[in-house]
């Protein structure tokens, strides 16, 4: 932080309150990081000016600083995040319909048209009507979808700010950040103008039991010691209900079993469910188990750490 807040604003101690405000706004106007997304130095200048302004805009604080009662770092703040830091991701819902008609990178386009139209940010099908025919605006919505609803597909509705509702079909296998386009569900056009479209960005709400990796579903399956040693059929939850999975005899923690076709629907058919086994000891070790293990160890000790450095 600059020691002299006046210098950060390009002023001297004699500056009036109005000068301070004007100086701050001038710097902020040119250097606000969100208005200069590509200039890293803008942030430093903006920060220094912002801290100086925070200190000097309040007459009492300014008096105390001038009198030497507080120093300039009295206003040091925790680092803030700027919008630009998060705004560049392809999943930014606010940029979905603004740059082009939907996602131009989604399949099924003519390559020549695509490259010709890309720079202009116009999809195919843009047509000019008579004067007075004004197309409606595109409208953006965001919808939180529970994990299982996204995996299996469902129908739901969004309540609009004006009190109406919008029916939305969540496709099977919907992804976090995916944008659905509802043609004609934006604002109405004028004259013969087409209505705009509604763009709905999906926000998948995580589920404590399931994780998703592409089209595969990942779960952890706790098993008992005897199930691990002897193997057997163990019930496991999938997105489409509980099934039994064969745990092989001699299974270990971390071993991954695969249930073919129990994942979510993707472009290349259904994914799998990958099950990571986790051996869980009984909550109470009784004498029978303890005695058995002691006897067994005396005769059959084994070292799973062979080749690994242990202390």
């Amino acid at each position: 932080m600059t020691k002299d807040p006046y210098a950060a604003l390009g002023l001297t101690k004699e500056a009036s309150a109005d000068d301070i405000k004007k100086a701050y706004r001038k710097i902020a106007r040119t250097d606000h990081p969100d208005l200069n997304p590509d200039d890293p130095r803008a942030e430093a200048r903006f920060k220094a000016a912002g801290q100086a302004y925070d200190l000097l805009k309040d007459p009492e604080q300014r008096r105390r600083f001038d009198a030497g009662e507080i120093d300039a770092s009295g206003t040091e703040q925790a680092p803030r995040g700027y919008y630009r830091d998060t705004a560049r991701g392809p999943e930014n819902p606010y940029t979905q319909s603004r740059t082009s008609q939907g996602n131009p990178f989604q399949g099924g386009f003519d390559a020549d048209d695509f490259f010709a139209n890309f720079a202009r940010g116009q999809g195919a099908g843009f047509s000019r009507g008579a004067p007075g025919d004004v197309p409606g605006q595109d409208v953006q919505y965001r919808l939180g979808v529970p994990f299982l609803d996204a995996a299996l597909g469902t129908r739901t509705r969004i309540t609009l700010p004006d009190g109406g509702t919008l029916e939305v079909k969540i496709p099977e296998g919907a992804r976090d950040g995916q944008t659905l386009r509802l043609r004609g569900k934006g604002t109405p056009g004028h004259g013969a103008g087409q209505p705009g479209d509604a763009f709905i960005t999906l926000d998948v709400i995580p589920n404590p039991d399931f994780e998703r990796d592409g089209d595969d579903i990942l779960v952890t399956l706790p098993i008992t010691i005897d199930e691990a040693i002897l193997g057997g059929k163990v019930p496991v939850r999938t997105v489409s209900g509980t099934v039994k999975v064969s745990v092989p005899a001699g299974a270990s923690s971390g071993q991954v079993l695969r249930l073919k076709g129990r994942g979510v629907k993707g472009r290349n058919g259904k994914g799998d469910q990958r099950i990571t086994l986790r051996i869980v000891s009984p909550s109470r070790i009784d004498n029978a188990l303890k005695t058995f293990m002691e006897g067994w160890r005396a005769e059959h000790a084994y070292d799973p750490r062979t080749g690994k450095e242990t202390k």
Binding site: R29, A87, T95, G121, Q140, G144, D203
Partner: protein, 110 residues
């Protein structure tokens, strides 16, 4: 959706934000919360966007119309950048003779 904030939490986090102001931004369609079964939710991205909106309103005295225009331009800029990034990555994955040809074309000597 790991970072999800209820309206109250957002108002508590952004100093100069009030409930009226938040709903005003939403009526202007420059803030769009996520509709969830538990009510509207905001993410870190939204909180930063709202912070910027408050700064533009308070520090720059930007009026409502200009605010909508600024955000639309900013969204277009970020969107175009993000697409350009994707294009660059796609080109980066191409064989080097393709990249070379594209570079020559961009330099204008085709």
């Amino acid at each position: 959706m790991t970072d999800a904030y209820a309206p109250d939490q957002v108002i508590a986090r952004v100093t100069s934000l009030t409930a009226e102001r938040l709903s005003h931004f939403e009526r202007l369609r420059i803030v769009t919360p996520v509709t969830t079964p538990d009510g509207p939710r905001y993410r870190t991205l939204d909180i930063r966007r709202i912070t910027l909106l408050c700064e533009l309103t308070d520090d720059f005295e930007v009026n409502e119309d200009a605010l909508v225009i600024i955000m639309s331009l900013l969204d277009q800029l970020h969107g175009a950048h993000s697409k350009l990034e994707q294009v660059m990555q796609a080109i980066g994955a191409e064989p080097s003779e393709t990249k070379l040809r594209l570079l020559r074309r961009l330099a204008g000597d085709d």
